[in-house]
Amino acid sequence: MASHFATPIAAPAQTGVTMVEAIRQAMMEEMQRDPAVVAIGEDIGAYGGAFKVTDGLLAKFGRERVIETPIAETAIIGAACGMSFLGLRPVAEMQFIDFIACCFNQITNFVAKSHYLWGAPVPIVVRGPSGGGVHGGPFHSANPEMYFVHTPGLKVIYPSTPADAKGLLKSAIRDNNPVLFFEHKYLYRRIKEEMPAGDHLVPIGKAAIRREGRDLTILSYAAMVHTSMEAAEQLAKEGIEVEVIDLRTLLPLDRDAIITSVKKTNKLLVVHEDTKTGGIAGEIAAIVCEGAFEDLDGPIARVTAIDTPVPYSPTLEEYFMPNTEKVVAAARELAKY
């Protein structure tokens, strides 16, 4: 086991930690803990990555462990996969998660299937900045998570808070399976949080209740959790008590948490920034119909992005994305049942 190299992690509790800092801490601590952990990607070394997530890794761990590559996403994922066959645990960065489409074949056909087909586990993490709201335009704002949620063999994580990002990334690096780790770039520096002390781990596949409520459930993940929380505040003033659940992991889904909450509130609204058709709301609706249909007092509602590419102009993007107003309006309608 690689664990016999382990050095204990004695990180103190900290306040005001951003998501970028949390992810960097996770990488630092895991690379320190286990020399089998390496980082690979474009401009992740001297420059520290396009969003400075990997800043400082090169100086500390050197070029053999912080591997800067040509602009070649298929080569990045292929090499990470090959390295994992010798027991390494590479963390590959997509400069923007949109570029993951360039290595779609490598991930979905080789990485995801290796364990099932020929018993070769691929313990790699593919991480990168995703999501809109920062006017990045159609090629720097995507939420491509559902392509991969539809791929057996992968795990898909999309955290909404710095503490979760750190704890889940550390769990992902230690996981024996390929994990896609989406980092919402809108959240990178906009939220700060207290970071627990020590070797902070968050289990993969477990949702979190962000706010308790009795009238209806909002299921969401990533940046839309914060939008949903704002909506819940407003709705509380109107007397509607909303339960907000942060999925955190999209594959495997925490089915129990979904069913339990729906049985409690009897109404479900799913909010996601991904586009509507083929978004996870449809899958969740099916899960609820299979597991808690008798408990529903109203139709399963969803607030999502519209079925278009992410437009560039702020007015267009605002129209494209879900926001607090849209969530509040949908929740009000649902609460009437």
Binding site: K60, A72, G78, R89, L117, G119
Partner: protein, 523 residues
């Protein structure tokens, strides 16, 4: 010259080539009996490539075969029963029926990475294997194969680019079997030799007769040793011929008969048997003993496969995730202190050792009034003999040289690498494909004159009336040479290969043309 092969090595090469062929012949019979579940992809005529290359790597080295590299699997230690059971989708197969053909691997003992059908993907994967092996201090070499067809994929170029940038101990065998399914090489790749592509990556390459197993072995052995010495990656193009269709369903009617005839006369096993006899390496008794051994082994393994059960249906639901069923560990064969802080720490600013004097050629190019391009050297004709090429530097341990970054060192003229083993002298490459290069279209030089503004053309009435229209060459040419059968348009049509084949008429002229190309190519 490389070490001559021992008698045992010679007999092993024969044994595995013959085992490969006999195994596949049995599978053809099983296919006809409907006992093979999916497709069957023949490597008939290509045995020397699989066996010669795989025999040149060591046990610790890693390989990733393509579907036709069954011989390589056998050499690496896969028993024939695994090939039978895989094709028959049995529960006893390495993948327990989850996948077929040669799609399986072994990470722990045999160091084989499973192929997938998307060709080219294994190149970055094996580059990663090579990089990991170097990082762990294991001194291994990674080797994989790609076909002429697969060499057009993006993954080929991305992977080779990364391997070259990383100076990875990685050997790529480009198995040029003349056909990608039904498309000949000349319809896919506008270069004469696929090995020429290595120049673009700044890596060394060679070309070898893929039906000469000893040449394949020696060439690969040299490449593997170069990589192990830190002078990788290397590319080897082996020229051979796929003697069957893409798979059993394909009668390969698109292949000219002359081409099959030519290559049939160069059957790698027949050639090698003659070589062994002529050089008195074996006698009839040895041959019959080896053949009997093969028959016996295949009898037992085929029976095992036929008697094996199919997997239980519900087994389909198992094994998507590794839930602790595998122990994942990295075997470090170097001091851990080199790769963990503080030993791993470096100064991240790139250093130039003697800037700007060290820019060498680049400096003179920048000063030159003519600018850059005319100053560039012409690409070398023979990448394997590049003189004065900077010696590829071992991926040094940065911990030991914190102030030196290899990439930032400008290329200084250095003596050519002195190989540990002398390169195998290039053998005459057999004619493989008749002259069928695209005819460079003769384009008339555009006359001097004002260019037609974008969006304005002959149908634009306002334009048609202006003086500019008179010098718009393309319009005028088109009008003057009204008939489509005019010589002008003919020039733009590349000759079709089929046409050329029928014209070349017979094996004799085929061979002659090949001889001509040999003389020109100088290989």
């Amino acid at each position: 010259m490389s070490q001559p092969l021992t008698r045992e090595q010679h007999l092993n090469l024969y044994y595995y080539m013959q085992l490969n062929r006999q195994l596949e012949e049995r599978m053809v019979r099983l296919f006809r009996q409907n006992k093979i579940v999916g497709g069957l992809y023949s490597s008939l005529g290509q045995e020397a490539v699989s066996v010669g290359t795989a025999s040149a790597v060591e046990k610790r080295d890693w390989i990733a075969p393509m579907i036709r590299n069954i011989g390589a699997l056998l050499v690496k230690g896969v028993p024939p029963r695994d090939i039978f059971t895989q094709h028959m989708a049995k529960y006893t197969s390495p993948t327990k029926g989850k996948d077929g053909t040669s799609h399986f691997g072994d990470l722990k003992d045999l160091h084989i990475v499973s192929p997938i059908s998307m060709l080219g993907d294994l190149i970055p994967v094996m580059t990663g294997v090579a990089m990991a092996g170097r990082y762990l201090g294991q001194n291994i070499v990674a080797l994989t194969w790609i076909g002429d067809g697969g060499s057009s994929t993006g993954a080929f170029h991305e992977g080779l680019g990364l391997a070259a940038a990383q100076k990875a101990p990685f050997v790529l065998i480009v198995e040029n079997n003349q056909w990608a399914y039904s498309t000949p090489v000349s319809r896919q790749v506008p270069v004469k030799n696929l090995a020429d592509r290595a120049v673009a990556y700044g890596i060394q390459s060679s070309i070898v007769d893929g039906n000469d197993v000893v040449a394949v072995f020696n060439n690969t052995k040299y490449a593997v040793e170069e990589c192990r010495a830190g002078r990788g990656p290397r590319l080897i193009e082996v020229k051979t011929m796929r003697m069957r269709g893409h798979a059993q369903h394909d009668p390969a009617e698109y292949v000219p008969k002359e081409m099959f005839d030519f290559w049939k006369s160069r059957d790698p096993i027949v050639l090698y048997e003659k070589f062994l006899t002529d050089n008195k390496i074996w006698d009839a008794k040895t041959k019959s003993e080896l053949d009997a051994k093969i028959e016996k082994l295949l009898d037992v393994d085929q029976q095992f496969a036929e008697d094996s059960p199919m997997p239980p249906p519900e087994f389909a639901a198992e094994g998507v995730y590794c839930d602790g069923c595998h122990d994942i560990s990295a075997e470090f064969k170097r001091p851990m202190s080199e790769v963990t802080p503080p030993g791993s720490g470096i100064d991240i600013t790139y250093k130039l050792s003697d800037f700007p004097a060290g820019m060498g050629d680049a400096a003179s190019v920048l000063k030159s009034a003519n600018g850059g391009h005319s100053q560039h050297q012409k690409p070398q004709q023979k990448p394997q003999q590049q003189a004065g090429a900077p010696r590829p530097v071992l991926h040094a341990n940065p911990a030991r040289q914190p102030n030196t970054v290899q990439q930032a060192k400008p290329a200084q003229p250095q003596p050519a690498p002195r190989p540990a083993v002398a390169p195998v002298p290039p053998k005459p490459v057999p004619p493989i494909y008749p002259e069928d290069e695209f005819v460079e279209p003769e384009r008339a030089a555009e006359p001097e004159g004002p260019r037609v503004p974008f969006g304005r053309g002959p149908k634009d009435k306002a334009f048609r009336d202006t003086a500019e229209a008179k010098v718009y060459s393309r319009v005028q040419k088109g009008r003057n040479s009204a008939a489509p059968a005019n010589g002008n348009s003919k020039n733009f049509t590349p000759k079709s290969p089929a046409k050329n084949f029928s014209k070349s008429g017979g094996a004799k002229s085929f061979g002659k043309q090949g001889g001509k190309s040999q003389g020109k190519g100088g290989r």
